[in-house]
C-alpha cells in the first residue's frame, strides 16, 4: 500500500521539473536544463516501477487503489477531488509513458543541441509528461479532462515550437482547433454521465454504467469516441496529425506517435463498460478504425517526406487499436499500444537521427545508401521496420496478430467482422510494403543526396543512439509481454482487474496458427514486393509505385482530398450555419429579445414618469386620497 502511494510522484516529478525549469529559465543553460528534465522523467519511471511492484504484490482483487487527493470543486452533492486511480491499466500506461518518455528526453538533449529556446523546449516536454500522466492516472473524469487539455496545449506549443516558420505556426493551430472538436464530445459525454449517474468519479461511474439505458450508454460511448477520434486522429479528424510533423522530431516521437495520440484508445478502454452496454458504438469504432487504418496506409504508400510517412503509419496503427477496441479486444488494443510505442518511437527517433545527420533533409528522394554512413541508426531502424511489418519474433507481430485474430472471431457482436478482418489484413500488407519502401529509399539504393549536402551524412552522437538501441531491444522482445503463461496471457491476466472482459480467443490452436501464418505471409509478401520494386531506389527520379498507380496514386498523394474536403465542409456548410446563427438567430431572436425587453421598460417608464410632478401638494393629495379610499373600504366591508 505504501509503495502504491508513491504514485503521486509519477506526475509530481515532471511537474517539479516544469517549476524548476520555469523559475530558473534565465540561468539554466544547455545542456543542464535537458538533464534536469530527463532526470525528472527517469525519477517518474522509477516511481512507476516501484508502484508497479507494490501493486503486483497485492491480492488480485485489491489491485484497484483510489488515492484521495485535495478537493477541487464542491457544490451541493457534486464533488471533484484530485484523486488518482492506481490499477493495472493506469500503471501499465504510466510505465510506458515514463519509460519511452525518458528515452526521448535523453535523445532530445542531443537532437536539440545548439537550438534556441533549449530550456523552454524541455519545460514543455516535462509539462507534457505531467499532463499525460495526469490523464492516465486520474481517478475522475474531470481531472482526466484536465490532463487531456494539458496534453493538447503542449501538443500545440511543441508543434509550433519553431514558430518563426509560418507552416509550423499554422500546423499547431490546426492541431489545436481539430482537437477542440473532440474535446466538445468529451464535455458532452461528461455532462451525460453526470446527469444520469450523478458522479464523475471513474470507478463509481463505470460500476453503475450497466444501469444506464441502452441509448444513453451508446450516446456516452459515441461522444467519448468523438473525443478519442480528435485526440487519436481517427476518421476525418486525422488531418492534423501529418501537419503536426512540423514540430521537432522528438516531439513527433513522444507526443504524436507513442503517447498522446494513444490517449483516445486509453479513454475508450478505461470507459469500456459504456461500450459494452451500448454495442452499436462498438460497430462505429471498429469500422472507422479499420477504414482509417486502410486510408492512412494508402497515403503512406506514395509520400516522400520521411516523417509524414511515419505520421500516416501512426494513424494507420491507431486505426488498428480502435479496431481492437471496437470488437471488444481491449487488452489487444493496450498491447498494440505498448508495442507500437516502442517501435514507432524507435522509427521516429531513427528518422530524426537521419535528418540530424543530413542537414535536416526530410525528402526521401534525396536520401539513399545511408546504411554505410549511419550504421547504428540503420540497424535499429530496420528492427523497427520488421516490428511494424509484423515479422515473427518482433513485437509488432504479436500485438497485430492478436488484433486480427480477435477481429476474425468478432466477439462483441460486431457485424461483418470477416470483412473488417480483411481490411486489417490488407492494411498489414500495405504497412509492410510502405515501410520497406522507406527503408530502401533511405538506407539502401543510390546516394541521391550527392551534390546537395555540404558534408557527408554522419552518425548521430551517442546520446541519441543509446535510446535507439534500447528501443530497438524493446521492439524485439516487447511481444513477450503477452506470451501465454499457464494457459493465460501475461498482460491479459495483469489487466484483468481493470478490464474484466473475457478476452477474445480463437476457437482452436489450428485456427490461431492459420491466422498468424496468414498475417506473417502478408507481411512477408509486402516486404518482398517492396524490396523487388525498390531494389534500385527511384527509377530515373520517378517513384515506381506512383507511376504504376497513376491517377489513384495522385488521390493517395493528396491524402484522398480529405484536407480540401474538411476545408470545404467548414467553409461552405459550416460558414452558412454560422452565418444563419449569427444574423437571424443571434442578432434577430436573441438580441431582439434583449433589446425588446429594454424598449418595453423605456416606453413604460417614459409614460409613467409624468406622474412625478415634483409638487408637494400633488403627493399630499395622492396620500390623502389613498388613505381615504382605505378608510372607506374599512367602513364598508369591515376589513380589507
Amino acid at each position: 500500500m505504501s509503495a502504491v502511494r508513491l504514485a503521486w510522484l509519477i506526475p509530481g516529478l515532471p511537474l517539479a521539473g516544469v517549476v524548476i525549469l520555469f523559475l530558473g529559465r534565465r540561468h539554466l543553460k544547455e545542456p543542464l536544463s535537458g538533464w534536469i528534465a530527463t532526470l525528472m522523467m527517469v525519477g517518474a519511471f522509477v516511481s512507476a516501477v516501484v508502484v508497479f511492484s507494490g501493486l503486483h504484490s497485492l491480492d488480485e482483487e485489491k489491485r484497484q487503489v483510489a488515492l484521495r487527493g485535495v478537493e477541487w470543486i464542491k457544490a451541493a452533492g457534486f464533488s471533484v477531488r484530485f484523486n488518482l486511480l492506481v490499477d493495472p491499466l493506469s500503471v501499465t500506461m504510466a510505465l510506458f509513458v515514463t519509460g519511452v518518455g525518458s528515452l526521448i528526453h535523453l535523445y532530445s538533449i542531443g537532437y536539440m543541441h545548439g537550438q534556441e529556446r533549449f530550456t523552454r523546449f524541455f519545460t514543455y516536454l516535462n509539462l507534457f509528461a505531467f499532463s499525460m500522466l495526469v490523464l492516465v492516472l486520474a481517478g475522475n473524469y474531470l481531472f482526466l479532462f484536465l490532463g487531456w487539455e494539458g496534453v493538447g496545449l503542449c501538443s500545440y506549443l511543441l508543434i509550433s515550437f519553431w514558430f518563426e516558420r509560418p507552416s509550423a505556426a499554422r500546423a499547431g493551430k490546426k492541431a489545436f482547433v481539430t482537437n477542440r472538436v473532440g474535446d466538445f464530445g468529451f464535455m458532452l459525454a461528461m455532462f451525460l454521465i453526470f446527469s444520469h449517474l450523478g458522479t464523475l468519479d471513474i470507478l463509481s461511474a463505470l460500476s453503475s454504467a450497466p444501469h444506464l439505458s441502452r441509448g444513453t450508454a451508446t450516446a456516452v460511448a459515441l461522444l467519448l469516441y468523438l473525443a478519442a477520434a480528435g485526440k487519436s486522429a481517427q476518421g476525418p479528424l486525422f488531418v492534423w496529425l501529418p501537419d503536426a510533423m512540423e514540430g521537432p522530431t522528438p516531439v513527433s516521437a513522444l507526443i504524436h506517435a507513442a503517447t498522446m495520440v494513444t490517449a483516445g484508445v486509453y479513454l475508450l478502454v478505461r470507459s469500456h463498460p459504456f461500450l459494452e452496454h451500448g454495442p452499436a458504438a462498438g460497430d462505429v469504432v471498429a469500422w472507422v478504425g479499420a477504414l482509417t487504418a486502410l486510408v492512412a496506409a494508402t497515403i503512406a504508400l506514395v509520400n516522400f517526406d520521411i516523417k509524414r510517412v511515419l505520421a500516416y503509419s501512426t494513424i494507420s496503427q491507431l486505426g488498428y487499436m480502435f479496431l481492437a477496441v471496437g470488437v471488444g479486444a481491449y487488452t489487444a488494443a493496450i498491447f498494440h499500444m505498448v508495442t507500437h510505442a516502442f517501435f514507432k518511437a524507435l522509427l521516429f527517433l531513427g528518422a530524426g537521427s537521419v535528418m540530424h545527420g543530413m542537414e535536416d533533409e526530410q525528402d526521401m528522394r534525396f536520401m539513399g545508401g545511408l546504411k554505410k554512413y549511419m550504421p547504428v541508426t540503420a540497424v535499429t531502424f530496420m528492427i523497427g521496420w520488421l516490428a511494424i511489418a509484423g515479422i515473427v519474433p518482433f513485437a509488432g507481430f504479436w500485438s497485430k496478430d492478436e488484433i486480427l485474430a480477435a477481429t476474425w472471431v468478432g466477439g462483441a457482436g460486431v457485424s461483418a467482422h470477416y470483412f473488417l478482418w480483411f481490411i486489417g489484413a490488407v492494411t498489414a500488407l500495405l504497412t509492410a510494403f510502405y515501410m520497406t519502401r522507406q527503408v530502401r529509399l533511405v538506407f539502401f539504393s543510390d546516394e541521391r543526396w550527392r551534390g546537395r549536402l555540404h558534408h557527408e551524412p554522419h552518425e548521430s552522437p551517442r546520446i541519441m543512439t543509446i535510446p535507439l538501441v534500447v528501443l530497438a531491444a524493446l521492439s524485439v522482445v516487447g511481444g513477450a509481454l503477452n506470451l501465454p503463461k499457464n494457459g493465460l496471457k501475461n498482460l491479459t491476466e495483469w489487466l484483468h482487474v481493470a478490464v474484466p472482459v473475457k478476452p477474445l480467443e480463437v476457437n482452436s490452436f489450428g485456427q490461431g496458427f492459420l491466422l498468424s501464418t496468414i498475417a506473417v505471409v502478408l507481411g512477408g509478401i509486402g516486404i518482398l514486393v517492396g524490396i523487388r520494386i525498390y531494389d534500385k531506389g527511384l527509377r530515373n527520379g520517378e517513384d515506381p509505385v506512383r507511376v504504376r498507380l497513376g491517377g489513384l496514386g495522385r488521390v493517395f498523394d493528396r491524402g484522398w482530398y480529405l484536407d480540401p474536403a474538411v476545408s470545404w465542409f467548414v467553409d461552405k456548410p459550416g460558414r452558412a450555419v454560422a452565418e444563419t446563427l449569427a444574423q437571424p438567430v443571434d442578432q434577430g431572436v436573441i438580441d431582439g429579445a434583449v433589446n425588446g425587453v429594454a424598449a418595453v421598460v423605456t416606453g413604460v417608464g417614459a409614460r409613467v414618469r409624468k406622474i412625478q410632478t415634483g409638487y408637494v401638494r400633488n403627493y399630499a393629495l395622492t396620500l390623502l386620497s389613498g388613505a381615504t379610499v382605505v378608510l372607506f373600504v374599512f367602513l364598508v366591508r369591515g376589513s380589507l
Binding site: V608, Q612, G614, Y615, V616, R617, A620, L624
Partner: protein, 101 residues
C-alpha cells in the same frame, strides 16, 4: 357634567380637514407646515378622547410619541425652509419641483 366624547371627535375631524385642505391649497411652505401641525394635533386630540372613552391609558402614551416625533419633524422641516429661503426669494412650495419626472 362633562362634554360627550363625540364633540371632541367632531372638533378633531374638523381640525384635520382644515389642515388637510390647507396643505393642499396653500403655496407658502411655512403655512403648509402649520397645516401639517394642525393635522397632527387633530390626531392627538382623537387619541386622548378615545383614551378617556375606552378608559385605556395607551392612547395618551401614543400622544407622547406623536409629540416627540412632531418636535423632531419641526426641527428638520424649519431647517429645510430656512435653507430654501436663503437660496430663493420666497418660500413657495411649487418652485421646488426638482423631482419632476
Amino acid at each position: 357634567m362633562s362634554v360627550p366624547g363625540a364633540w371632541y371627535l367632531t372638533v378633531a375631524a374638523l381640525m384635520f380637514c382644515i389642515g388637510a385642505i390647507g396643505l393642499l391649497v396653500r403655496r407658502n411652505a411655512l403655512i403648509m407646515f402649520m397645516c401639517v401641525e394642525l393635522m397632527l394635533n387633530a390626531v392627538n386630540l382623537t387619541f386622548v378622547t378615545f383614551a378617556r372613552m375606552l378608559d385605556d391609558i395607551g392612547g395618551q402614551v401614543f400622544v407622547f410619541f406623536t409629540l416627540v416625533v412632531a418636535a423632531a419633524e419641526v426641527v428638520v422641516g424649519l431647517a429645510l425652509i430656512v435653507s430654501i429661503f436663503r437660496r430663493r426669494q420666497g418660500a413657495t412650495a411649487d418652485d421646488v419641483s426638482l423631482l419632476r419626472g
